[in-house]
């Protein structure tokens, strides 16, 4: 009888241990089982993933949740200060993280650290630039960004990635402005250029539709695309490629942090450590939702030559020099930019 009782208690305890769960608010690349399952098996836990697009959505989800509901937060690099201001993030034990291996250009210390504490770490980055079908159009024809909205040659051949910040940043760069300096006074010129872009566009598309639009030949050019669209398609459709125009590209990055209200902080930190490890980084970089550069340079030791070629690993120093960071508007400018974007959609 005692044996049965002990066995039952052990089974219940084991079951409870198995039942430990981690709740993560993430971008779609984190939902790839090939990325998550190794962590679940190693720690005997279940990772519940809630996917979102756009920081506004994430903040709405958090506002509508109870404190402690969420453990891990994957967030746009430029929006980390918003999350810190809102008290959402906990300081990270940076001594336990591979900070020295992160590409220096993508560390974003000014965004991720405050008062000596680091609240998030860059985990992945890439570019919003031009994806295209090189059998239909050459990189030279796309080198001048202004032609995209001023030349009839591109009419009906363009899809626009439906995210206002990177595309408006690109347009600003095409107009000779710095993304960091965009102000309300720049919006009329940016809006006019967006209207021209919309006139030439077949559609304004989300992540999945942008890949479909290029892959099915619906359009030849994706404005706002980049390696995150074409790298995953490269094996089957080598004619799909990406390039950076003369005026440069917008660099995006995503950061990972731990929620301040998390009741499983140790496990959440373990998850962050796993994601930032070379193995986790290689899996994240080649996730089934979209590919992009890992922030940890040591992931290069894990990625295959073919994967690195698709990510343009060796060209990164040049790309990083030519790219500017996403615009980081304050609340009022952000609202005005969204309004201009909505006008463009309705134009």
């Amino acid at each position: 009888m005692r044996t049965i009782l002990l066995a039952t208690v052990a089974a219940v305890a084991a079951s409870a241990a198995q039942a430990e769960e981690l709740n993560a608010l993430v971008w779609c690349d984190h939902t790839d089982p090939a990325l998550i399952e190794p962590f679940e098996k190693a720690h005997g836990v279940k990772v519940n993933l809630k996917e979102y697009e756009g920081t506004g959505t994430a903040l709405s989800i958090v506002e509508q949740s109870r404190p402690g509901d969420w453990d891990v937060f994957v967030i746009d690099g430029i929006d980390v200060p918003r999350a810190i201001d809102a008290g959402l993030l906990a300081p990270l034990p940076v001594a336990e993280l591979p900070m020295a291996d992160i590409f220096p250009e993508v560390v974003l210390e000014g965004f991720q650290s405050r008062d000596g504490n680091t609240y998030a770490v860059t985990e992945k980055f890439g570019y919003n630039t031009i994806s295209y079908n090189k059998e239909k159009i050459s990189a030279e024809e796309l080198s001048e960004m202004q032609a995209l909205w001023s030349s009839d040659e591109f009419a009906g051949r363009i899809a626009i990635y439906d995210y206002y910040l990177p595309v408006m940043g690109m347009v600003a760069m095409g107009l000779g402005k710095q993304t960091a300096d965009i102000g309300e006074g720049d919006l009329p010129a940016i809006r006019d250029a967006l209207f021209g872009l919309k006139k030439n566009a077949r559609s304004v598309v989300d992540v999945v539709s942008s890949q479909t639009a290029l892959a099915t030949g619906e359009v030849d050019i994706l404005v706002g695309g980049g390696e995150w669209v074409t790298a995953i398609l490269a094996a089957d459709q080598p004619e799909l490629d990406w390039m950076i125009p003369d005026q440069g590209a917008v660099r995006w990055s995503q950061s990972i942090g731990v929620f301040a209200d998390s009741e499983r902080k140790d496990l959440a930190v373990e998850f962050v450590k796993y994601i930032l490890s070379p193995e986790g980084q290689a899996r994240l970089a080649t996730s089934s939702c979209y590919w992009a550069m890992p922030a940890n340079a040591k992931a290069g030791e894990v990625l295959t030559d073919q994967q690195k070629a698709a990510l343009r690993w060796d060209d990164q120093p040049d790309y990083l020099k030519r790219a500017q960071l996403y615009p980081a508007p304050d609340g009022d400018l952000d609202a005005a930019m969204q309004d201009a974007w909505t006008e463009m959609l309705q134009h």
């Binding site: 304004v204 479909t212 952000d334 969204q338 959609l345 309705q346």
Partner: protein, 285 residues
Amino acid sequence: MTTPERAERRRAWAAVAPALLWTLAFFVVPFAMMAAMSLWQRQGREVVRVWDLSNYQDFLSKPHLLGALWNSIEITVLVTVISVVLAYPLAWIIAERVPRHLQRLALALAVLPFWTSYVVRSYAWTLVLAKNGVLNQALIGAGLIAEPLEISATRGATVTGFVHFFVMLLTLTIYANLVQLPANYRRAAADLGAGPLAVFWHVTLPLTLPGIMVGAFLTFVLCIGDYITPQILGGNSELVLPQVIMLQLGRGADLPMAAALSIVLMTVVTAAWLACARWLRLERA
């Protein structure tokens, strides 16, 4: 009021109380909260609890927001009319021409596309309507066109996706009405000398109007509130009101403006209900 009458009244209240409480908890209270929130403001990244009509003024003064309402109404009316025109003959054929024992099978086949996910069905349409899609390839193969038609990412694509869905819904409501129609009415009209067209026009159609209007109202409500089909098939070539609401929620976290736009949407639905009310009554004379 006598004691038995009071007891009867209490029993009646007890019977309807669960429904009233349900409606209060899940409609009246949330609606009141949404209406109150629509009077607040988003300033910068903060929601300020002032009480004014600025969100409604913004909606009326910004052409791209007002335009979204007109797009919604135009698309919804178009979809509803086309769906009724297509669904009625289909329902009539199933009710009048298909043998009784095969009608269930015919209805099941007619609503077969319901069995697939709404989102998957919309994405499937993108493959049909794409520049290199099934439709264009078929038309080019048949020699009917030389260059592919630009159907995808247009209002036409959105309407096509909607109509495919709502024809099935309307077929069900109209069929249910048609099979309840006593055949004697039409026989009597025929005995009095009416031809088939006159019987249909003066007897069958008026008696099936409730079925048409119930289906049309459901189509109107579901269509005007939907953002998935315009988002996937319309390619953001124009915005409908639910897409703008989603933009306020997803991009700007502007719950007050989203609430104000939702109230506008509910006002339009209420107006549609009032227009159809005489056919939507549960009990009829």
